[in-house]
Amino acid sequence: MTMDDSLRELYQEVILDHSRHPRHFGVLADATHMGEGHNPLCGDKVKIYLHVDAHDKISGISFEGKGCAISQASASLMTEMLEGRTVAEAEQLMGGFLHLVKGEDASDLGEDDRDRLDVMAGVSAFPMRVKCATLAWHTMKSALEDGGIAKSE
């Protein structure tokens, strides 16, 4: 693959579309969990909001943030893919995603998930950018683990 090909793969239309028109962007009013992620090297910031229902299912998810095309697209794609999954499924998907963007064996991803996440696979050719792609996912995980929003009722 030539250098231009790897750049075109990194910045393919799906990625640019997600970064320009992010899905699930904004505050989630009834969030049960919230996490904030920050990459001090580049100043990228992201907030992830989740609503986890009584069956441990992510029934709502959104994000807010500023950053590069990779970090924004990754966050947007993540919100699309996690809605409706259980917390355990979300963590499993994250594991597969991390393998994928690091260029490792990602056979732990199901076929459909692999197909949908494939647009992010180009990141593996750019080691300095892996952190951009993983920021939203790590933030999601920390929101689920430590980001419970206390309710007064």
């Binding site: 250098m3 231009d4 790897s6 750049l7 075109r8 990194l10 910045y11 640019l16 320009r20 090297l41 580049c42 100043g43 990228d44 500023k66 950053g67 590069c68 095309a69 990779i70 750019f126 300095m128 950018r129 951009c132």
Partner: protein
């Protein structure tokens, strides 16, 4: 009629920098990250190697031949820095591990012993974190107040605003000589005159300014001036603090250890006079020799012609960015130094820098350790191209072509 400006022979100097001949991703390296760290000429690298292979030992300690030789070379390096900055006395030059350590030394050694709650330190919004955080320490730990002088929209500094910020409570003015983001060169002589009129000393962060201007600390009458070796085409791990002799004498040491003492007993210690007082432990000896070689190199080229060449590169880049019309340059102060930072419409600096990187072009993307300034200009991150005398007009063309390509890819 004036003599015609001398033509700077860029191809001749490029031969001295071996690394400039290498390729990155199969493309010729275009190194435009000089404000982060400059490349080193063979004269510096060879000089360090020659010293280490024939004259090296610890300094100021042994009675043996090599120790005496190494001490001579180390102290010769100090005199070269003295001459480079035109300091009056060689004991006004303290070797540090870099610019950051030099500023921390002033914060701790000069101010922290005497500063009272409510005392003020005046600084500008274009300072690098290294000239902000050591003063924040004094705010956080001792109740000092940071008084910020904002820069103008074009990046210039209004001397009247700075003057107005200096009050009876001001203990120090800490200001950059040249901004690492805006390129602004500050009117140091005027700043010092205004501050001294109110009895306030001035520290200048010269990490960029010493690279792109000829510095004369006596003419400036400045109290503290800070340089770092690695931006001056020298090695990492070495920098220097210039301080007026009378001020250095009043300062307490920052590190304790060997070489900085006069006498140590079970009950008490007495300190060595400056500069040894501030150079505890084995200093960066080989690096000091490397810094001296870098200064020899810099003073050996025609610096005025080199500056004119750098300025021409800046003008070309500036004009090219204007044509692109989607790049907003941050900092257009008159007489600015040879770097240009910009924000690109709809494109994040890291995406741009990744595409430039694959073209072999090294630029800096991010907040440039100047978050206060980023906030001032309401930008999250910018892309910065910073030029050295060894850069060429063809490299500016390559930068501009790569930016057009990035626009094509990122839309």
């Amino acid at each position: 009629m004036n003599a015609p400006a001398k033509i700077f022979d860029v191809n001749a100097v490029r031969k001295d920098f071996t690394i400039l001949g290498r390729q990155v991703y199969g493309k010729p390296l275009v190194y435009l990250d000089n404000a982060a760290s400059a490349q080193k000429p063979d004269q510096v690298l060879d000089g360090m190697r020659d010293f280490a292979t024939s004259e090296y030992a610890n300094v100021h300690r042994g009675v043996h031949y090599l120790s005496a030789t190494a001490t001579d070379r180390y102290e010769e390096a100090r005199r070269k820095v003295q001459k480079f900055l035109n300091a009056k006395y060689e004991d006004e030059i303290v070797f540090t591990k870099g610019g950051t350590e030099a500023i921390n030394l002033v914060s701790y050694g000069y101010l922290s012993a005497t500063i009272q709650p409510g005392d003020e330190i005046v600084l500008t919004t274009m300072e690098h974190h290294s000239n902000i955080v050591p003063w924040h320490f004094l705010r956080e730990r001792q109740g000092a107040v940071l008084k910020w002088v904002d820069v103008e929209d074009d990046g210039s500094l209004d001397i009247e605003k700075l003057d107005a910020a200096i009050s009876a409570k001001t203990k120090l003015v800490a200001v950059t000589h040249m901004s690492n983001v805006l390129g602004t060169i500050t009117p140091l002589k005027e700043i010092v005159a205004r501050a001294h009129a109110k009895g306030v000393p001035v520290l200048a962060d010269g990490c960029q300014g010493s690279v792109h201007t000829v510095v004369d600390v006596q003419a400036l009458d400045i109290d503290f001036y800070v340089i770092t070796g690695h931006k001056l085409y020298g090695p990492t791990g070495i920098g220097a603090l210039y301080g007026k002799r009378a001020l250095l004498k009043t300062m307490r040491p920052y590190n304790g250890g060997g070489e900085m003492i006069a006498e140590v007993t079970r009950e008490k210690i007495t300190y060595a006079p400056p500069p040894a007082r501030f150079e505890a432990g084995t200093p960066p000896i080989i690096e000091a020799v490397g810094l001296a070689a870098a200064i020899d190199y810099l003073t050996g080229i025609d610096r005025i012609a080199a500056q004119a060449h750098e300025h021409a590169l800046l003008q070309k880049a500036r004009a090219g960015l204007k044509e692109l019309n989607w790049a907003r340059v941050i900092g257009d102060a008159p007489g600015k130094g040879s770097l240009v930072a910009f924000e690109a419409d709809g494109m994040h600096a890291h995406d741009l820098a990744t595409i430039l990187d694959r073209e072999g072009i090294a630029v800096r993307a991010g907040h440039h350790c100047a978050q206060v300034l980023m906030e001032r200009f309401a930008v999250a991150s910018t892309t910065r191209a910073s030029f050295a005398f060894y850069n060429t007009t063809e490299e500016v063309d390559a930068l501009l072509a790569a930016l057009r390509k990035a626009r094509d890819i990122l839309g």
